[in-house]
Subunit: 244 residues, 2 copies
DNA sequence: CGCGGGATTGACCATTCTCAAGATGTGTGG
DNA sequence: CCACACATCTTGAGAATGGTCAATCCCGCG
């Protein structure tokens, strides 16, 4: 019996807790029921029916809220290794929609399996709750960004945060990463207009800091970019206590 | 043995679940260790030491994050009946600070007491998790507001949301409510400058919609204000499933 | 070849910010 | 009781960040 350690979720959690063989096997077990969703077609889990959560295996998803006036605000992006609708199991979910940005593969996690896993290994439960708490910290950081950072810093910060998250699951490094988002996605996430996103991206590119183009993000001068964005990945690490 | 039903938390939870005598007593038990904090003096629970949560009994608190450049973003306000640092018990807390806006009274909740209460009455646990989930929904709504609403709608929406929350614990009605916030608080919460907050408040006042003055908020034309702000309290109610 | 989604760019506009000057009110020390 | 410091609120003038509208380009696809 071989235990895959290449699942993105496993990889992510392993960064923070050294998981035992049994725990790895349990995680693997949670990844049995794979499902596929098409880009652009909303996969809304709401209320009664949405008793299941998913772990994103490949592809990108965004969770967003639509305004009465037609504009939308993207609350968060999910990348491989992230949960979708975890809160609808643990707590009760808030009412936003999920839209796959590209075709995705996701493992359906049954509530009962998850709870059983929790009961069997408290360490795994801790690790998963850590992940949930990290998601929350990201939403808060997102709030701060929109409220108190100008467009340039906002976009720089966003690209760096994505990079950190992707690196954690092996989908990026200090050079850059693949990124299927359009400039419209950035605009909806960052509270800007697409036109202005375009202008700021050009500015960052011409300053030799970072390129966002043709599905790739390339860091040209990571140090200067980090300094410009005042990027401190502390809220993503959350290391400390959990390593015990 | 008398069971007080006037605790703000009890009042809040009762709106959504009919609590039994035993559950009411348990809630009462959670409110034994009262503590006081002074306005302006940060009560930061971070990491190791902060194993306790509080239930705010009276007064207002805000949770915020400081930026490297000195500006701050207020993430949320807590009013009587709200938890402070609940996530540091259930999950792991993110790293923002708490500051009492006025002198406050708060009941310290020990982790063990809370977990015991959860074990004894699943219904109470559900109710408390509902409250946590509602807090999260508010942060998301806050994010949407900053990202996609202009200053007038933003402020109108904020004042209405506060009104709804306060009404739930008996501290306000459709006429208005007492509110110790300064215009600087509004600015830091809504991602605006204090000067502009002032101008918008004047505008709302002169339009005969709402007055924010001398520690009071008065709704002059609630219907028109709700319409202007596109205010839909759905995300605050979360009724439905929980009433079963 | 024509169409549609995304990216670009310019010109102009407006919401919101910054700076600055007062006004008002409250608490403290003299 | 007065004077002063300090916090809060107000208002004006000018600047700026970011938005809207509109045209164009590029490219993959049926």
């Amino acid at each position: 019996m071989n235990i895959p350690v290449n699942l993105p979720l496993t990889r992510k959690l392993s960064t923070f807790v050294a998981l035992s063989k049994a725990e790895l096997a349990l995680l693997d077990h949670l990844h049995q029921r794979n499902r596929f969703f098409s880009a652009g077609r909303d996969m809304v889990h709401q209320g009664q029916s949405g008793q299941a959560a998913y772990v994103l295996m490949s592809g990108w998803v965004c969770s967003y809220k639509l305004q009465p006036d037609g504009t939308r605000q993207i609350v968060d992006f999910q990348i491989p290794g992230d949960f979708l609708g975890l809160r609808s199991v643990l707590l009760r979910t808030s009412d936003h929609s999920f839209e796959p940005i590209v075709d995705i593969e996701a493992a359906e996690v049954l509530t009962e399996d998850l709870l059983e896993a929790f009961a069997q290994t408290p360490r795994l439960a801790t690790a998963i709750l850590w992940a949930a708490s990290r998601d929350e910290a990201m939403v808060v950081e997102h709030l701060v960004g929109i409220g108190r950072r100008d467009a340039v810093v906002r976009i720089a910060h966003f690209l760096l945060e994505l990079g950190s998250r992707l690196a954690l699951v092996g989908l990026g490094d200090t050079k850059g990463y693949d990124c299927p988002l359009t400039q419209y996605h950035l605009a909806d996430a960052l509270g800007l207009s697409a036109v202005h996103v375009n202008r700021v991206l050009r500015q960052l590119r011409e300053a030799g800091l970072v390129t966002f183009r043709e599905g790739h993000v390339r860091f040209h001068d990571l140090d200067r970019l980090v300094k410009l964005a005042d990027f401190d990945p502390a809220y993503l690490d959350h290391a400390g206590p959990l390593l015990k």
